[in-house]
Symmetry: C2
Subunit: 174 residues, 2 copies
């Protein structure tokens, strides 16, 4: 892959503008690290707690919520996943007994996902192992400055993708 030309195709903005060598090194390091880490955590939780990392994250969010319950849409947004994915996930977590659905009294379309007692207990049982894995893979290896820097960087990236990332680049709104 070598190319410095300026192919048009107005669909894509401006000229190619490739990544520099240094940027490529950063990007590959990012891909490698995130791939390895997600895989590592998935395996750890699958083995110990019998569920993928995302599912575990859902339970944690429920545990932190008032009444240990959240509306489906809230939970989905909080976890940055689609409602569809959440729907499937909750169905599975319900079968495992860690989550229960409840109708929302004020909105008949609404559903609450509620963390069950078994779910909470399961979290208590496996949280230490998970925290250990995270610590070992990430925090134990970084200096305090790097940890701070990582937080800032990730916040910036997340915010850029988060809000109405659609609206931001819709021509007629500019």
């Amino acid at each position: 892959m070598d190319r410095m030309n300026t192919a048009p195709t107005s669909a894509d903005p401006g000229e190619p503008h490739w990544l520099t060598d240094e940027e490529q090194r950063v990007w590959r390091a990012y891909i490698d690290a995130t791939t390895l880490l997600e895989d590592h955590l998935d395996r750890q939780l699958q083995r110990d707690a019998g569920m993928p990392h995302v599912y575990y994250g859902l339970l944690v969010k429920l545990a932190d919520a008032p009444e240990r319950r959240l509306r489906m849409t809230e939970l989905a947004m909080s976890a940055k996943i689609t409602r569809s994915r959440l729907s499937h996930a909750v169905a599975r977590l319900e079968k495992s007994g860690w989550v229960r659905r409840e109708d929302c009294p004020s909105d008949k379309r609404g559903q609450f996902a509620v963390l069950t007692d078994e779910g909470l207990e399961m979290l208590a049982r496996h949280a230490p192992g998970h925290v250990h894995a995270v610590r070992q893979a990430v925090f134990d290896r970084l200096t305090p400055e790097q940890q701070k820097s990582l937080g800032e960087i990730m916040r910036i990236v997340a915010e850029g993708l988060q809000p109405s990332e659609a609206g931001a680049d819709l021509p007629w709104l500019r």
Copy 2:
């Protein structure tokens, strides 16, 4: 599910040792950013090029390799995925015509994954859009210092998980 070695779960450390509030904020920012970014890139490539981000990454690695070919195991290691996953992936990419398999002459068990001409052309066609997406989501938002920092951090994390990550936390080696 097998259960050997039910010793006092040597995997779990002594006392919990939770994340501090600040560490939790960093960790959540990381999860949010990586989830959103992966999703964003997957969608972009699925829409434009008809394949998930990982598959695209495989093609890029082949394009960068001498002869545009790599042994299956090499490719899998380079992309940080399992051989099984790669096997399925290459089967799919083969059906789409972007990749072709070739027997290895020196080792009859071996297979090469080879990027086809259509695969290369496809990359040329969609690379600008992909680079643009990456740039827009990441590099355009970070200062040069942050980019450098990100690279260092990700390299550290990747290296910690990469090598014989198993051996590193095997009790009898400590």
